[in-house]
Each structure stands twice: as structure tokens, then as C-alpha cells.
């Protein structure tokens, strides 16, 4: 009787291990090639770890390539987008959560619509609109476009966080004489800080990963974001695998930081759902 549970438990753990290996192996390989010196890259082939590791590729990428510029551009674009979207989305999310108004149905319908149609449809028209305004090949143009793309989802996200906060709180403050906006700013917003952090993280990662509009709207090296810079580097120096992968590892850092931040929250959200259900 005991043999069967042990067999089942072993199979379960092995399956989990297989999933972990599948999830991590590509990232592990990225790191492995990034630290392999050039002279060992071809001679040692597919060894799982090079006999000698070095940081020379990182050193080159950080000091002699345009990647620090790409990194800075991406940081500016993603950071500004995240902050602006979060401000706009907390305002509109609050409106959806606390007010009943005639245009509400249309607002929600409009925001859902923007989530349904292929964004690639907008590549050409947006280029045509931004070009005479001098907003192509500019980080500001990218921030505007990314902000608009991310506001609908962020609004729904913020709305769900506001929904979780009892209405009595700001009603009490308004009885004490505060206007609704003051109550919103001083009582409700501080209570949604975890939600605000999550929204910031989601939007930052989305903007950091965006490729197509960045490719279309940015042409010079000087304004290139990380994805565009990495792709042009790949097509130009397609033999410098060590350097490309070192740059790839650098592009991974902000995403992983965000993931570590949100990871616990993700698990918490799941367990909260379990308790509620």
C-alpha cells in the first residue's frame, strides 16, 4: 500500500523539476555564453559550463558599445510611461470604482475595444500623425504612444484595487468637511500603495519589452531603446555571440527585478482568492 504514494510523490516532484529545468535552461544558457571567453566559445562547444569564466563581454558592452545609451533611453521611456500611466489610471480607475455616471458604460466599452483590436493596425497611422509633429525619432513620442496603450489595462487594474477599499472611509472624511478629491488623495491613495506598485511594475515591464512601435518610430542609434539597439546589434555584429548575450543579460535585469518584486504579491493574490472562494 505504501509503494504507490511514494511513487506518485516522486513522479510529482520529477514533473515539477522538469518544468523548472525547461523554464530556466534558456536563461541559464544566455548567462553561460555571456561569461564564456571568445577563445573557448567554439572549442568547447556545448559544455554546460566553460572551463574558464570571464566578464570581458560585459566589460566591452558597458564601456565600448552604445548599450549604456540604449539602456538609459529605455529606462527614461519605461519609467516615464509607468509614472504617467499610473497617475492617469488611478484617476480614471477611481472614477469607475466610485461614481455611477451616464458615460461609464461607454468609457468601459471604449477601453475594452482598445484591448481587442490588433495594435499592429496602428503602426502606419501613428507614424503619419507623429511625423509632422516632430515626435518620430523622439523618446517623448514613444512615451505618449506607450502611455495610451497601457492606460486601459492599468485603469481596470486600479479600479479593482479601489473596489477592495470600503467606501465608508472617504464618506467619513467628507462628513468631516473634506472634498472628495482631498479624501481620494489623502486617504484612498495611500491605502492602494500595493496596487500602485503593481501597476507601475506591469506598465514598466510592458514598455520595456515593446518592440514593434519602437522599431517603426525610432531610426537613429541615439534615440534607440534597448530592444531596437539589441536587434540592430544582432544584425550588424552577428558573430559576437558573447557580447550579444551579455547585452541580453543586462536587458533581463529590470524585468527580473520587477518579477521578484511582484512574485510574492502574485502568490498572495492567489491565496487571497483561495480564502475568498
Amino acid at each position: 500500500m505504501r509503494a504507490k504514494p511514494i511513487l506518485l510523490v516522486t513522479a510529482h516532484r520529477l514533473a515539477i523539476l522538469a518544468y523548472i529545468a525547461f523554464a530556466l535552461f534558456p536563461l541559464y544558457w544566455l548567462l553561460k555564453v555571456a561569461v564564456t571567453p571568445n577563445d573557448l566559445l567554439y572549442s568547447e562547444g556545448i559544455r554546460l559550463w566553460p572551463s574558464r569564466a570571464s566578464l570581458e563581454h560585459f566589460d566591452f558592452v558597458l564601456r565600448h558599445s552604445a548599450f549604456p545609451v540604449f539602456f538609459r533611453n529605455s529606462l527614461i521611456v519605461s519609467g516615464s510611461t509607468a509614472v504617467i500611466v499610473t497617475i492617469l489610471a488611478s484617476l480614471s480607475g477611481y472614477a469607475l470604482s466610485r461614481f455611477n455616471f451616464r458615460g461609464k458604460y461607454w468609457l468601459v466599452a471604449l477601453m475594452l475595444l482598445t484591448q481587442m483590436f490588433p495594435l499592429v493596425m496602428l503602426v502606419a497611422p501613428i507614424f503619419k500623425i507623429l511625423s509632422p509633429l516632430g515626435l518620430t525619432n523622439s523618446l517623448t513620442g514613444l512615451v505618449i504612444v506607450y502611455t495610451a496603450f497601457n492606460v486601459p489595462f492599468a485603469t481596470f487594474l486600479m479600479q479593482s484595487f479601489f473596489d477592495g477599499i470600503p467606501k465608508d472611509l472617504e464618506e467619513a472624511a467628507m462628513i468631516d468637511g473634506a472634498t472628495q478629491f482631498v479624501a481620494f488623495r489623502q486617504i484612498i491613495l495611500p491605502l492602494t500603495l500595493p496596487g500602485i506598485a503593481a501597476t507601475l511594475g506591469f506598465v514598466f515591464t510592458a514598455a520595456w519589452s515593446e518592440l514593434l512601435f519602437s522599431l517603426m518610430l525610432i531610426s537613429g542609434n541615439y534615440q534607440a531603446t534597448f530592444p531596437v539597439g539589441l536587434l540592430s546589434f544582432v544584425s550588424k555584429f552577428s558573430v559576437d555571440f558573447g557580447q550579444m548575450m551579455a547585452a541580453g543579460v543586462l536587458a533581463l535585469i529590470p524585468a527580473c527585478l520587477f518579477f521578484l518584486l511582484i512574485q510574492r504579491y502574485l502568490v498572495q493574490g492567489l491565496t487571497a482568492g483561495a480564502v475568498k472562494g
Binding site: 510529482h12 516532484r13 514533473a15 515539477i16 518544468y19 523548472i20 525547461f22 523554464a23 534558456p26 536563461l27 544558457w29 555564453v33 566559445l41 562547444g45 556545448i46 492617469l88 489610471a89 484617476l91 480614471s92 472614477a95 461614481f99 458615460g103 468609457l107 471604449l110 482598445t114 483590436f117 490588433p118 499592429v120 493596425m121 496602428l122 502606419a124 497611422p125 503619419k128 500623425i129 495610451a148 496603450f149 492606460v151 486601459p152 485603469t155 472628495q180 515591464t205 518592440l211 514593434l212 530592444p227 539589441l230 536587434l231 555571440f241 550579444m244 548575450m245 541580453g248 536587458a251 533581463l252 524585468a255 527580473c256 518579477f259 502574485l266 502568490v267 492567489l270 482568492g273 483561495a274
Partner: protein, 310 residues
């Protein structure tokens, strides 16, 4: 009645100015977001629809005239478009099917409590945080026989006659982006399905096992019915999303070799980005939009029909 009105807080006796500002409040809160969405998404969308009927080429200053249905006539004879359509079906079908199957299995595995579950969960969900362009590059390097191990492993296993890059093999190239997409998308399905799994009341399982139901029976008569709505909506949304998802293909193969991995979304992008033919790109985009709408309608109608049958 007068008292009741006052207790309800109805704005019966408030001054006119106050009533106007109160009524305007929700609009003021949502105005910035609304204005931005309308100018940056809705106006370009309308403009894009009009481009489909115009001759718009970025490099040709004399273009811009209305040409009616010419783009659509050209499209109906464009063999590359039909191939892209078939590729889209294959790319979307295979990606969604594998992501769902592996995601559901992972969610079921993680639903059991075990030592180190938090850590395991964090590790298997990590690909979800990897930027899509990097996922694409990373997998195209893994498939590259110069630096990647996969061709050598396939060769050692006897699957390949020599360690070659599947991304340059017209017969196999589509599997590259599909595998990258599956790797990248499993966590999404697993997270959603795990949340749904954990919302199933545990006592149901206990009651069922007291009544003598085995694990398979419990899965079929408790787990699946509870998951069904989540599964349906996730698959619908994911199908639409993946058929529009061109990043991996543009990064890994750029539609090649010989258009074997070109999907409709990447074809639109290529027309706009490489050929700078905005009119034709918009016409294809309009057809894609119509197809996706038809698909969504079909699913909704199918669902209504299934519900009314019960």
C-alpha cells in the same frame, strides 16, 4: 418623504453650482485617460481604416488618392497573404494548444502543497517576466548550431541527420517561434488556471472521496466543471492575442525562410516597416480585424447555443 430624501443624501436642496461640479466629477477624473486614448488610439484607428481605401506610400509624395477597393482586389490575388493566413492558423493553433495543455498540467502540479512550493512557483513563472524580444533572441540562439546546444542534442538523439538550424529549414522553421512562444506563455495559463483551481471549495473533494470517487472521477466531475468558464475565456482571449503577436516571429525569422513563418500580423508590419506601403498594410489589417471579430462572434454564439441546450 422629505426626510427620506434627505437621509438618502439626494441632492435635492444643493445649490446649482455644486450640483454641476458633482455631476462633472467622474468626467474630470477620467478625462485625461479618455483624451489620450481617443487621440492616440481611436483617431489612428479611424485613419487606418481610411488608409485601406487610399494609396499611401511613405516614400511617394504624390500618393494619397482614394482608390476604392483596389487594395482588397490586390489582396485577393496575393498568394503571400493566403500563405500568411494559413501560417497564422497553424501558429495560433499549435501555440494555444501546447500552452494550454502544459499550463493546465503545471497548475495541477502546483495546486498540491509540497515543501518548497513558493520557490518552485517563482522559478517556473520566471519566463513570463522575460521581454518578448529577448525570449525570441534567446531561443534563436539556442537553435543556432554555433552557440546553441539544441541542434547537437537533436543530432545525438538521432532526430536530425546533422546539427543544423531548424529556423533556416522551410519545413521546420515554424516550430522555432512556436516553441519559444510556448516557453514564454505557459506561465500565463498556469497562473490563471491555478487561481481558478485554488478557488474550488476543498470540502467538495473530501465529500467526493468519502462517497468513494477516485482521483480521475474527482477530476472529471469537480475540477473540470469548475475550471470550464476560466478555460473558455482564457483560450478565447489568448487565441486573439497570439494571432496578433508578431514579436517572436519578427525577431527569430523575420517571416522567412521563403515566407514559411510569415503570419498575417508580421506581414502587416513588414508591409508598413520595410516597404513603407501604409495603404496596403492597412487593408490587410482591416481584413485581419474582420476575421478576428468574426471568430469572437462565433465563439460567443457557440457559447449561447451550448448554454441554451442545457
Amino acid at each position: 418623504m422629505a426626510y427620506a430624501a434627505r437621509y438618502d443624501g439626494l441632492p435635492a436642496r444643493r445649490p446649482l453650482m455644486k450640483r454641476i461640479t458633482d455631476g462633472a466629477a467622474p468626467y474630470l477624473y477620467s478625462a485625461p485617460a479618455l483624451i489620450l486614448i481617443v487621440t492616440v488610439m481611436l483617431v489612428p484607428l479611424a485613419l487606418g481604416v481610411s488608409y485601406a481605401f487610399r494609396d499611401i506610400q511613405l516614400l511617394n509624395p504624390f500618393s494619397g488618392a482614394f482608390i476604392g477597393l483596389d487594395h482588397f482586389r490586390a489582396l485577393s490575388e496575393d498568394q503571400a497573404f493566403y500563405r500568411a493566413l494559413r501560417n497564422t492558423l497553424w501558429w495560433t493553433g499549435a501555440s494555444v494548444f501546447l500552452q494550454f495543455l502544459l499550463g493546465l498540467t503545471l497548475a495541477l502540479l502546483l495546486d498540491k502543497p509540497f515543501y518548497g512550493r513558493g520557490l518552485a512557483q517563482a522559478l517556473v513563472f520566471l519566463p513570463w517576466a522575460v521581454p518578448s524580444f529577448l525570449a525570441g533572441l534567446n531561443w534563436s540562439w539556442l537553435f543556432n548550431p554555433v552557440v546553441g546546444p539544441l541542434p547537437h542534442w537533436f543530432f545525438a538523439l538521432g532526430i536530425m541527420s546533422e546539427p543544423s538550424n531548424i529556423l533556416s529549414d522551410p519545413q521546420l522553421a515554424m516550430w522555432g517561434p512556436i516553441i519559444a512562444n510556448v516557453w514564454w506563455g505557459i506561465p500565463f495559463f498556469a497562473i490563471t488556471l491555478l487561481a481558478a483551481l485554488q478557488a474550488i471549495p476543498r470540502d467538495l473533494y473530501e465529500a467526493a472521496s468519502i462517497d468513494g470517487a477516485g482521483p480521475a472521477q474527482r477530476f472529471l466531475s469537480i475540477t473540470l466543471p469548475f475550471l470550464a468558464p476560466t478555460i473558455a475565456i482564457t483560450i478565447l482571449l489568448r487565441t486573439v492575442w497570439i494571432s496578433n503577436f508578431a514579436d517572436l516571429i519578427i525577431v527569430m525569422t523575420n517571416g522567412g525562410p521563403a515566407d514559411r513563418t510569415q503570419i498575417v500580423a508580421s506581414y502587416i508590419f513588414t508591409q508598413a516597416f520595410k516597404r513603407l506601403d501604409f495603404g496596403y498594410a492597412s487593408a490587410i489589417a482591416l481584413v485581419l480585424l474582420a476575421l478576428l471579430l468574426a471568430y469572437s462572434m462565433l465563439i460567443v454564439i457557440l457559447r449561447q447555443w451550448l448554454l441554451s441546450k442545457d
